[in-house]
């Protein structure tokens, strides 16, 4: 599924033909400037990227700027609908939902980033080993991936939670294990493609060690697909973590986690639908931003990568 990536060939060779400094600015194409030229045409992805940066800032400073504390009870204003005082209304304890959503940004982004980072690191190493060394190591790692894929979707995560017990920390572990086989497969297939190219053979014949070949020459060739999947998987990871919390297996009340907040609003669906509506909207918009950014990165980095 993954196409042959462009090997990162340095195009601004210092020993190459001299170019006038003025012209150089126009002509030199670094991999990044090529990428940026294509990426900035994708308005939606650019917008999503800016939104994600804003979310990250909000995650860092959010709790200091919210109008109310995330644990601030107000029994005079229980289950009040959206108003000027409470933009997203209040929940069953009179807590301001808007403030809690902002406080929850930190949790969701942390869980998403952490679990995908762990899963992608392990998966990338396994994929590089599998693709580079081949033979029995390859069969072993790929069979392991097949087995993990045999537990569809959220099931593997639920199984891991059943062993480790509920909790946000265990959700991170479960979701990162869930991400390992996907990265292993993608990196393996890209590794195979890069390994077959002439420049790798040339480097090998110059006497490069295996370790040098993998890290200096093959790994850089796999980064574009890793970046694309990394972005998209964060969205999925946030969704799965929220689902697990919704099911009562992840963050426990009163943690202002979006999935847990949504779950607590289920009992008031008839009288106060805003308690479920706004946290769900927060999950949706955040995941959408990561998916749009992932789509844009894919089109800019390697259009051959499919969904």
């Amino acid at each position: 599924m993954v196409g042959q990536p462009e090997p990162a060939v340095p195009k601004n060779d210092p020993k190459g033909p001299r170019v006038d400094v003025k012209d150089e600015k126009k002509k030199v194409k670094t991999p990044f400037s090529e990428f940026w030229k294509k990426f900035k045409k994708q308005r939606l992805a650019l917008f999503a990227g800016i939104f994600i940066v804003l979310l990250l800032i909000l995650a860092a400073i959010g709790p200091y700027i919210t109008p109310y504390g995330s644990e601030e009870f107000d029994y005079d204003n229980i289950l009040v609908g959206p108003s000027l005082a409470h933009w997203a209304g209040t929940d069953a304890y009179g807590r301001d939902i808007f403030s809690r959503i902002i406080a929850g940004t930190r949790i969701s982004l942390f869980v998403g980033l952490c679990s995908v980072l762990l899963g992608a690191t392990a998966g990338t190493i396994l994929g590089l080993i599998s693709g580079f060394y081949g033979k029995w190591l390859d069969s072993l790692i790929m069979r392991m991936c097949d087995v993990m894929f045999a537990f569809p979707g959220i099931l593997l995560a639920i199984g891991i939670i059943a062993v480790l017990g509920p909790g946000l920390g265990n959700v991170i572990i479960a979701v990162s294990i869930f991400s390992v086989p996907i990265f292993a497969r993608i990196v393996r297939s890209t590794t195979l493609a890069v390994k077959a190219t002439l420049f790798v053979e040339a480097t090998r014949s110059l006497g490069a060690t295996n370790r040098r070949l993998i890290w200096k020459h093959i790994f850089p060739g796999t980064t574009s697909s890793i970046i694309v999947y990394f972005t998209m998987r964060i969205g999925t990871a946030i969704l799965i973590a929220a689902s697990l919390s919704f099911l009562g297996l992840g963050a426990q009340p009163p943690t202002p986690e979006w999935g847990a907040m949504l779950s607590s609003g289920r009992d008031y669906l008839n009288t106060a639908p805003h308690v479920t509506f706004f946290p769900g909207m927060a999950i949706f918009v955040t995941v959408l931003a990561f998916n749009l950014l992932g789509d844009g990165l894919r089109d800019a980095l390697d259009p051959k990568i499919k969904d």
Binding site: L44, R143, D146, V147, F149, A150, F151, P152, G153, I154, L155, I158, G159, I161, A162, V163, G235, L239, A242, S243, F246, L247, G248, L249, G259, L262, R266, L269, N270, P273, T276, F277, P279, G280, I283, F284, V287, L288, F290, N291, L292, D295, K306, D307
Partner: protein, 306 residues
């Protein structure tokens, strides 16, 4: 052709074995003593030893595994810790509702997904394409449990068209299957679009246009058939997504299926039921993928004549 079939069927055997080993080891990975868990918190030392003897936990791991597999083939999946009933009976009534829910979700997801995909691919880069693809990426990003709750709020609470949950009549299927199918429809739409766009670049499509065939005939008769080959494989994988998603959706709609049983069992730490549910979900997914692979062999002439 026969060779391809045999290869596929034989190929799943090692996966089945490893999956069963993993699920068998599951109980042994849980921190704590499984015999104590089964016997209950107030059991005496003798009781625990008795349970250990009954469960065969004194024997070596390999021999325990073989009796575990042997029991599965005899339909003996152990006893539920919560209800003290055989796990097999617990699962028997739960299997079909989950199965039908996933089938209905898949049916409409394929229908809608294909339609959006074809419309987007044939209207490339105009508003129909953008609308379809923005809808699709939104569908992938929607938290299914939230979509379900919002549909309940609108169609059950406000309009009263469909029940809020449970399984009574065909009406009960509408909201859960719509919720569950939304994400899959979105994936199928995206995949169909890119696959069909690749095919529409082929020479034979240009030939068809050159000899004056109608665009509709080119798309629906000549191109779609070839574009569907990768879509079929994708759809098989999405069945897994559906099965996993059904766990969440069943909780939202109080659906009497396997998924809700699994979640209830996780909260009660009812390990024999968890084991059986995981086994059944994995088995169903492996079998569906086998069927999809075989279907792929029938559909793809390159494999047929190999």
């Amino acid at each position: 052709m026969l060779k391809y079939f045999v290869k596929r069927v034989v190929g799943i055997i090692p996966i089945l074995i490893i999956v069963s080993v993993l699920i068998f080891l599951f109980v042994h990975m849980i921190p704590g003593d499984p015999a104590r868990l089964v016997a209950g918190p107030d059991a005496s030392y003798q009781d625990i030893e008795l349970v250990r003897e009954q469960l065969g936990l004194n024997e070596s791991l390999p021999s325990q595994y073989f009796s575990f597999v042997g029991n599965i083939f005899q339909g003996d999946l152990g006893t539920s810790l919560k209800t003290k009933r055989p796990v097999f009976d617990e699962l028997a009534t739960r299997f079909m509702p989950t199965f039908w829910l996933s089938v209905w979700s898949m049916a409409w997801a394929v229908l809608i997904g294909l339609l959006i995909g074809v419309i987007s691919a044939t209207n490339r880069n105009n508003w129909k394409d953008y609308l379809g693809m923005f809808g699709a990426v939104s569908g992938i990003s929607l938290p299914s449990f939230w979509l379900g709750l919002m549909l309940i709020q609108l169609f059950s609470v406000k309009l009263g068209w469909f029940p809020t949950g449970g399984l009574d009549s065909w009406k009960s299927y509408v909201l859960p299957s719509l919720t569950l199918g939304a994400g899959v429809a979105a994936v199928i739409a995206r995949f169909t679009r890119s696959s069909l766009m690749d095919i529409l670049k082929e020479d034979y499509v240009r030939t068809g246009r050159a000899k004056g065939l109608r665009e509709r005939k080119i798309v629906w008769d000549h191109s779609l058939k070839n574009a569907l080959i990768p879509v079929v494989t994708m759809t098989g994988l999405q069945f897994g997504f559906l099965l996993g998603g059904s766990i969440v959706i069943e909780t939202v709609f109080s659906w009497p299926g396997l998924g809700r049983l699994l979640i209830d069992s996780v909260s009660f730490r009812d390990y024999p039921v968890i084991q059986a549910c995981m086994l059944l979900f994995a088995l169903e997914f492996i079998l569906i993928n086998l069927v999809v692979d075989l279907l792929y062999g029938v559909m793809n002439p390159q494999i047929k004549y190999e």
